[in-house]
């Protein structure tokens, strides 16, 4: 049963605290270097000139928006199936970051679309399904706020999140299944369609967004643990809590 040691909020809380600082430092360092590489060292794109540089935020945000949704649905599935508290709290803590990433992807994409395509918004399959993803995140967040009992909220949000996961492959595959205004994937295994310096900056930004998401999610899950387990003995013995009372 040792592998489930950290499934207990009391064990996970201090571990998460240590991980937060590691990932926050990694994210900050990569973000700074990634932005320097992307905005100064990487060359301009021959057709889009400087406006292509929005990909250094857009692509990582779009990836995280889809990936975080799958992770959230996974933790909700574990919470619904195994009735574990911490997995529901993990899922709860991912939703706001996922919504932020989705909004960021839509917003930067729109600002890129105007100079490149000539439009801020088009109802093509990629953009529409990404907008649906934002509504799914907002729906999960709103549903939780609407239900006072957190355990009941876990169940309701879990069902919504798990059903909504069907949208993720639609977003991902939309540019291949249908004719869309949005172009295909830039980074794919086996073939590269991007300049190597651009790719270096982009990969750094992708990892920066990864580590940021991990750090902020763990930070938030610690707050959620304190809130939802407030009556537990181990919490009243925490040094940071003792000082407050």
């Amino acid at each position: 049963m040792n592998s489930f040691k950290y499934a207990s909020p009391a064990q996970f809380y201090p571990l998460a605290g240590k991980l937060v600082s590691v990932f926050a430092v990694l994210a900050t360092v990569l973000l700074i270097i990634g932005l320097i590489v992307g905005l100064y060292l990487a060359p301009i794109d021959v057709t889009q000139k400087d406006s292509y540089r929005i990909i250094y935020v857009h692509v990582p945000a779009a990836w995280m928006s889809m990936f975080l949704y799958v992770v959230m649905a996974f933790w909700y599935a574990i919470a619904l199936g195994a009735n574990t508290r911490l997995s529901a709290m993990m899922a709860q803590s991912i939703a706001p970051t996922g919504a932020l990433m989705t909004a960021l992807a839509l917003w930067t994409g729109s600002f890129w679309g105007k100079p490149t395509w000539g439009t801020y918004w088009e109802w093509d399959a990629r953009m529409t399904s990404e907008l649906v993803l934002l509504f799914l995140y907002l729906g999960v967040i709103a549903l939780r706020s609407a239900i006072d009992d957190p355990r009941r909220a876990d169940k309701a949000c879990g069902v919504l999140a798990i059903v909504g996961v069907v949208n993720v492959p639609i977003i991902y595959m939309s540019v291949q299944w249908w004719n869309t205004l949005h172009q295909g994937a830039t980074i794919s295994v086996g073939e590269r369609t991007i300049d190597s310096m651009m790719l270096t900056g982009l990969l750094m930004m992708i990892f920066a967004f990864w580590f940021y998401s991990i750090a902020i999610t763990l930070m938030r899950v610690r707050a959620i643990i304190l809130e939802r387990e407030a009556g537990a003995n181990w919490i009243s013995e925490l040094s940071e809590v003792k000082g407050q009372r």
Partner: protein, 163 residues
């Protein structure tokens, strides 16, 4: 539910109740994926953002209402009218070409040999009367120095995105 539990002696224990819940989640997930697959398949004609010149030639594209056509601006097809605003160009997917007319402001990336999506209607002469023109970018990001060498590959990539 209670009737089922009584019928199945195993479901009384905690482990099997958990297994059952996971089975229900898996079943629900499978069901929603199946439903979505059917919906996606059924809607696929409506999800298409634009038609290719080949689809126009094969009469797949609507005849009497507005639609979008996507392709590459044919090389050496671009002509400007005397008013300076009206342009004539060919939209091609290398197999077929549709002639198009547009009056208005073009996106910066609009050029011969680049991707384009135009919205409008076919007139009686088979000329596409565009009311709106957007540039379609491909997934390639290239520094100016290497651009020339890759010019050919670039055009192939644009054509590839059109299927």
């Amino acid at each position: 539910m209670t009737g089922q539990q009584a019928a199945n002696p195993q479901s009384g224990s905690g482990m099997s109740a958990r297994k059952k819940r996971f089975l229900w989640i898996g079943f629900g997930l499978l069901l929603s994926f199946a439903i979505t697959a059917l919906v996606v398949k059924g809607l696929s004609a409506n999800v298409t953002y634009f038609y290719s010149p080949t689809e126009v030639a094969q009469n797949v594209a609507p005849k009497d209402r507005a639609f979008r056509i996507g392709g590459m601006v044919e090389e050496k097809s671009l002509r400007r009218a005397a008013d300076g605003l009206t342009i004539y160009f060919g939209v091609t997917d290398s197999a077929h070409t549709v002639k198009a007319v547009y009056t208005g402001i073009l996106p910066d990336l609009f050029a011969e040999g680049k991707g384009v999506v135009a919205q409008g209607k076919l007139d009686e002469n088979g000329v596409f009367q565009a009311t709106r023109v957007l540039a379609k970018h491909d997934e390639n990001y290239v520094a100016p120095e290497v651009a020339e060498a890759m010019d050919k590959a670039h055009k192939e990539a644009v054509l590839k995105t059109l299927k």
